[in-house]
Amino acid sequence: MNKFSWYEAKSVEDAVKQVNNTVSEELYLPSGKAAIFKSGGIDVLDLVKEGLIQPKTIVNVRNIPGLNKISFDDNGLRIGANVTLAEIEGNEAVKTRYAALHEAVAHAATPQLRNMSTIAGNLAQRTRCWYFRSSDHPCFRKGGDKCFAKHSETGQNENHAILENDRCVSVYASSVATALLAYQGSVMITNGKMESRQVPLSEFFVAPDQDVSRENILEPNDLITEISVPAPDMNTKSYYSKQVQRASYDWSMADVAIVAQMNGDTCEKITITLGAAAPIPIRAYEAEKIVLNKKINEERATRAAKVAMENAKPLSKNSYKLPLFESIIKQGLLEIA
């Protein structure tokens, strides 16, 4: 592990002025003098241990006062950047009002890791694609000229993308993001000039065809300060399911979140989001249309699930994901109906 210095940031302004690079930029084009943010430190340390980044300074934002609160009122849920996944899991409002988010958080990582992982770090962590995580594989995302996973014979692509996978076929690591996207959450960001902006999660993730060097819009001095999630209606129903290989804990093979407003059995508003399907968490817009303003029944649920996978282009080893997604989407729709 390379040596680095440590800056213990005391305020948001202090932190944004100390940092000079993102982890993504450092992976793509190492500067050798990066000062990067760290919160829980799990992903940062993982990348440093693997020798994929060699930061000069770690700017610790974990103890900045005021970023560790979680609150709920009529306007919705506000989760400070440093709130841990365990704290979200244990929050009463999350348990009672945001069932899909609760389910997603409770099934992310391990109990130990949930005690350490912060929500901001979770959303900004890099993909777990094993080629990306290996220093022996200079892939697109690290400034290289190929996607190793895509190769039809040698690519170990069982966990990879089946949608929007023309270039890099990695999938987004955060399964919590799938649920937050379904609730139409947004991220509050403060930049180096101390200007704050609120970015909907739908605009936070960056797909490889837009810019393969990054997975989110964060610029070097952008600090996430808070995640906000609108208050669900009394008629809101939600669903989340994550399919994994091992029963104990694992990264997602396929996860689906559904948030819908129901009037009787008619669906008046709906978001269906898919994780581990594409390089970023995505909405299944066409599937939503099948059930919007309709009664959700077996036939429509089946059709919506089919439509969600219509444009799928499975790789050599992951066609199993199609029926998997189809069955979770169908199951989820029938459950909220």
Binding site: I58, P111, M116
Partner: protein
């Protein structure tokens, strides 16, 4: 001495701690950003401390004792415990947060010490497997592990015990599913799981 920035969380490394550390340090240097100190009253926002990349002495509360350690910013808690304090009960297996062999508690919560920086501990209390027994007297969970043959090669065992002891502390009447849930992160390549589950349930009975 300058006052500490207000609202300081208890997890942060106190400036006083650093200055004390600086006095003790021989191996490395603590760079107190003197520019920061000088400018602090002019600027409106609280500024932090830079700790240079070499070794620095810190104090850490481990199993009820205050210990002095020499760590670098890159030193993990697992390495600090094993290499600095010779507390080798905490095992390092994957070193990536995926097996939980290195589980210790920070302020009572199980975490992976291989993915926690020593500098992140701050004022939090560390509890390791060595702090689970009382002297030579094993914890009921440890005794049950022996009785139920819940250990093979033993690499995962300290982490398993930490997860199970934590469970019983918060749930005196666990179901099999509760035990499974609590040990979700603990991987055992020897496959001792059924024995671990039985041992924990029997320890729970005995502790009633």
């Amino acid at each position: 001495m300058k006052k500490l920035a207000s609202g300081k969380s208890k997890k942060s490394i106190s400036r006083r701690g650093f200055i004390r550390g600086a006095g003790l340090t021989t191996a490395g240097t603590v760079v107190l950003n003197s520019g920061v100190l000088a400018f602090e009253h002019k600027e409106s926002y609280p500024k932090g401390d830079l700790i240079a990349e070499g070794a620095v002495e810190i104090k850490m509360k481990v199993n009820g004792l205050s210990r002095t350690l020499s760590v670098e910013p890159r030193t993990t808690l697992a390495d600090a415990l094993r290499d600095q304090l010779d507390m080798t009960g905490t095992k390092i297996v994957c070193d990536r947060g995926s097996c939980s062999a290195c589980t210790v508690y920070l302020d009572g919560k199980p975490i992976n010490s291989c993915m926690t920086m020593a500098l992140d501990v701050g004022q939090q209390e560390v509890t390791t497997i060595e702090g689970i027994s009382s002297g030579e007297k094993l914890h009921p969970v440890q005794e049950a592990f022996i009785e139920h043959d819940a250990t093979q090669c033993g690499y995962c065992t300290p982490g398993m015990v930490m997860s199970c002891v934590h469970l019983l502390k918060h749930n005196s009447n666990p179901t099999l599913d509760d035990v499974k849930h609590a040990t979700r992160g603990n991987l055992c390549r020897c496959g001792t799981y059924p024995h671990v589950f039985k041992a924990t349930l029997s320890a729970a009975e005995k502790m009633k």
